[in-house]
Amino acid sequence: MNRWRVRHISTRGLLYGGALLLVLQAAFPFFWMVSTSFKPPTEVFAQPPSFIPQDATWDNFHRLFTTTNFLTYFWNSLIVSGLAVLLTMVVSAAGAYSLTRYRYPGREQIAVLILCTYMFAPIMVVIPFFILVKKVGIENTHFALVLALTSFCLPFTLWLLRAFFQTIPIELEEAAMVDGAGRLRAVIYVVLPLALPGIIATSIFTFILAWNDFIFTRILIAADELKTLPVGVQDLFHSALTDWGLIMGAGVMITIPALLFFMTVQRYLIRGWGAGAVKG
């Protein structure tokens, strides 16, 4: 009995030790980023480093907003990601509805085709994309960027929403239609409310993908006033190579929206994961 207790306590200890290590490795880099972003320049380079800023200051953020184009990048990121989410959701909700509710020849082949394109990596698409966009003459526009992000997100949002729509019994819609509601009304009042958790989760995944995108923006956008955050911050990093306080401040500012969205979507994650949710 006693031996069993000792073993039980040591496995619990091991478990908590493991959990602690996991938390530390994930959280420490972020803690360090936040800490650095509040330090004045002299303290950033102090040896030994201070873990909690001794002279906490907003100076880095102030300079970020006033001396760089950070706010423009931030605004562009919001617009581009927002539009990409909107377009992706409309197109993929209609597509997923089609794949689960209508019957027509080629439907299953289309579903397989979509799954195959899910495996394409951006680097295979961007080089021809770059040439084609120049031919059409829409390079350096948010329009091209939104289209590119949308089509890149589509395969997985379609796949995910299709899985969500499949779990909604078709009989509910049919019942509504028998009661005299048209199909559109049945969709708006029956299907969409039931699919809402799936739609929210999918749109947040899309938002995170668009918000994080680097390669499409790098290739399609050259004008500084059109850049989104990841590309803008990379350029900032080049021009302010040793201003670590400023750069960490930029890092904090990009991470905050990601953190907010992550917190909202966390509870859907496990569920979405089963259907093959996130890519990268």
């Binding site: 880099p29 972020f30 990596a121 680097i123 021809p128 040439i131 918000w211 960490m248």
Partner: protein, 302 residues
Amino acid sequence: MPSNQAPPVGRSRRQMVMGLLTIAPALLLILGLILYPVTYSIWLSLLEKHSFFPQERFIGLENFVYLWSDSEFWTSFWLGVVYSFWTILFQLILGVAAALVLNESFVGRGLVRGIVLFPYMIPTIVAVILWKWLLNDTYGVVNYWLLALGIVRDPISFLGTEHIMLSTIVMSVWQFFPFVLLSVLARLQTIPEELYEAAKVDGATPVRRFLHITLPQIRGILFVVILLRSIWMFTKFDTVWLMGEGAGAGRYIRTLPVYAYMRTLTYYQAGLGAAIAVIMFAILIVSTVIYFGLFREEADIG
């Protein structure tokens, strides 16, 4: 699921029209903006083409012949294999281990899970500037610790030619193992508790329980995870590019995606860049077919 009876004839025509109309926007975007560019890149790989000027000249397979004897191409290929192999191996080990920890119940599990998953959700640029700061050779906190604990006598140049591959691998594992963790965890939570209880009664040790119960159960998901991670790591661009940008020490992490990008946008040889992308695509298709052949059983489970 769609109901099983066949719809009346009049309705089936309407079904077809409505079905095609609602799928059309998605299909057009995928065909026009993914499949057409990929097909076009095959054509592009047969051309000599400047990335910015419209002139183009058909040269057949010359780009591929050039790459065959291009030592930089082979170096990039090899660096990509090294990078993918080690990052995937450690993502799997850490991901499965962490999933086993998070599958147990303990106080604060939900919070721990959230914190551990978070690095996977942040933009790569944030992960890169974070790690460049942690690993900075003069002011980095990692070097400070190594010196303070007396492990090294001089600071290590983590981002210099000798260690940049190692640093990039560590950073990538940190950023991407949560994907493995969450996929495996989702599967672990569906394994019936009774299986473990029966084994405990029989006196099986934790290691044996893992090998004989857990592992067979997660084989299917591991098959899928290894496939996806291999594709994504082999074609990973942003992480590797942002760590090294192809020049200086970055030459030592110049994998195929970086090389394809540089041929297109540094040397303006779009044809050659497309040829590298086509080769990557071919490698992936061949490897996927072989992989499915080797692990047919797991493919059925997955």
